[in-house]
Amino acid sequence: MSKTIDARGRSCPEPVIMTKNALEADSNGIQVLVDTHVAVENITRFAEGKGYKVDVKENMEDYQIDISRD
């Protein structure tokens, strides 16, 4: 099970920084929770830029972003 980063309620660019730091600590993959669409876009762009596979699930109140190596 990969580590989960809770970036809900964080404003730009904190979710991306939290994702970046978490991926530097565990480069295999992580799960990130955010609650704005902007954060989803920014994290997706960042992780895909680093060559990760990104999978976004939309829940009622938040988004779950799974970032993994192919």
Binding site: S11, P13, E14, I17, K20, T36, V38, E41
Partner: protein, 365 residues
């Protein structure tokens, strides 16, 4: 269309609107300027008495409505708040002091540059340095904390504020001040300003363009996504000016409209703007858009900008074409020192919390 091209085109919409608004009557190199426009609104509301910069700028109302409506339709509108509002207010306040010493927000800096005002290049260097310093704090754990869901009405307060401004603009009550000379008296026709403001608001909301974000992301994560938006603004303002305002293009440092050539304070003023923008998570444009889509913290920031503008003029800090008054220089220096203290204290606080937590964990083991 790939994402960079899309950003470039969105930026282009903003740049073209700026060139058109200048052609139809806005002050020199002020087709769009978020800082100047909020300052003019502060003046119209009587918060400062600088008689030459008082006008309810319809562009701002258009931007707020455009961003509000499109965010509501797309589901981006969310009422959130409670992430260090007072700190944000103060950062907005000092951001405005820096902007009014340079004479423009980062958007106007790009627009000034696209018309040949090379002082904007000096300011850009300052802006980048300010952002670079801000990024160092971000890397060390700077945060203004989480926001939380708030009652829905809170998210509507800012658009309602814009609606009230529109009513004042239309019925012109005696207590609202309108400049009869100077930049505040110059403006494109109200309908045109409103419509182009609306278009720009939609473009900004959809693209999420932020002038600070573009440079910050290059430094922080080597991502040029938003930078392409900034390049779009520059390129299309330039093209628009070549076609519409060719006689006004003036390459150099001297005799620029509503600008001065005090190199040091153009640099330091925008360094303060860059620093505050990074610590706030966005430049004045982005704050205005976020405020329009339910972010009440950004709303508080905009009120910080408005109050900052009022004090900049009341305390004789705002620059003019003649240069930067002594009070303005002192204001910028106090601003830089004070904002650095805030950022440093936040980082120190985060570190303390982290050590406490790890101590608790090891005590529990």
């Amino acid at each position: 269309m790939n994402s960079k091209k899309k950003m470039f085109m969105y930026g282009g919409v903003i740049g073209l609107a700026a060139a058109i608004l200048m052609k139809f009557g806005n002050p020199g190199n002020m087709g769009m300027c978020i800082a100047c426009f909020w300052r003019d609104i502060a003046g119209a509301l009587g918060l400062h008495r600088a008689a030459v910069v008082q006008y309810i700028r319809p562009e701002i109302i258009g931007i707020v409505f455009g961003a509000f409506i499109v965010s509501y339709l797309t589901g981006d509108f969310k009422t959130r708040g409670g992430s260090s509002p007072l700190t944000r207010f103060i950062l907005g306040f000092f951001l405005m002091i820096g902007a009014l010493v340079f004479l423009g927000c980062p958007l106007r800096m790009i627009i000034r540059l696209a018309n040949g005002d090379l002082n904007a290049l000096v300011a850009l260097a300052g802006y980048i340095v300010g952002i670079f310093i801000g990024v160092q704090f971000l890397k060390k754990g700077y945060t203004l904390g989480k926001n939380y869901e708030q009652a829905k009405i809170a998210g509507f307060l800012f658009p309602i504020f814009a609606l009230v401004l529109l009513i004042f603009l239309v019925i012109k009550p005696a207590f609202i001040l309108f400049s009869t000379e100077g930049p505040g008296s110059m403006g494109a026709p109200v309908i045109l300003s409103l419509i182009l403001g609306g278009v720009v608001g939609v473009a900004l909301q959809r693209s999420r363009i932020c002038t600070a974000g573009g440079i910050r992301d290059m430094i922080l994560i080597k991502d040029s996504h938003f930078l392409w938006g900034i390049l779009g603004i520059f390129a299309f303002t330039l093209i628009g000016n070549l076609i519409l305002n060719f006689e006004k293009i003036n390459i150099g440092f001297v005799g620029q409209p509503i600008g001065h050539n005090d190199f040091l304070f153009n640099f330091l003023g925008m360094a303060l703007v860059g620093l505050c923008s990074v610590l706030l998570g966005g430049c004045p444009i982005r704050q205005t858009i976020l405020a329009s889509q339910g972010d009440t913290d950004a709303g508080v920031t905009v009120f910080g900008l408005i109050v900052g503008a009022a004090f900049a003029h009341n305390f004789g800090m705002a620059a003019s074409g003649n240069g930067v008054p002594t009070n303005g220089k002192i204001g910028v220096i106090i601003g830089i020192v004070f904002v650095l203290i805030i950022a440093y204290s936040v980082v120190a606080d985060q570190k303390n919390k982290a050590t406490k937590k790890s101590k608790e964990v090891s005590a529990n083991v």
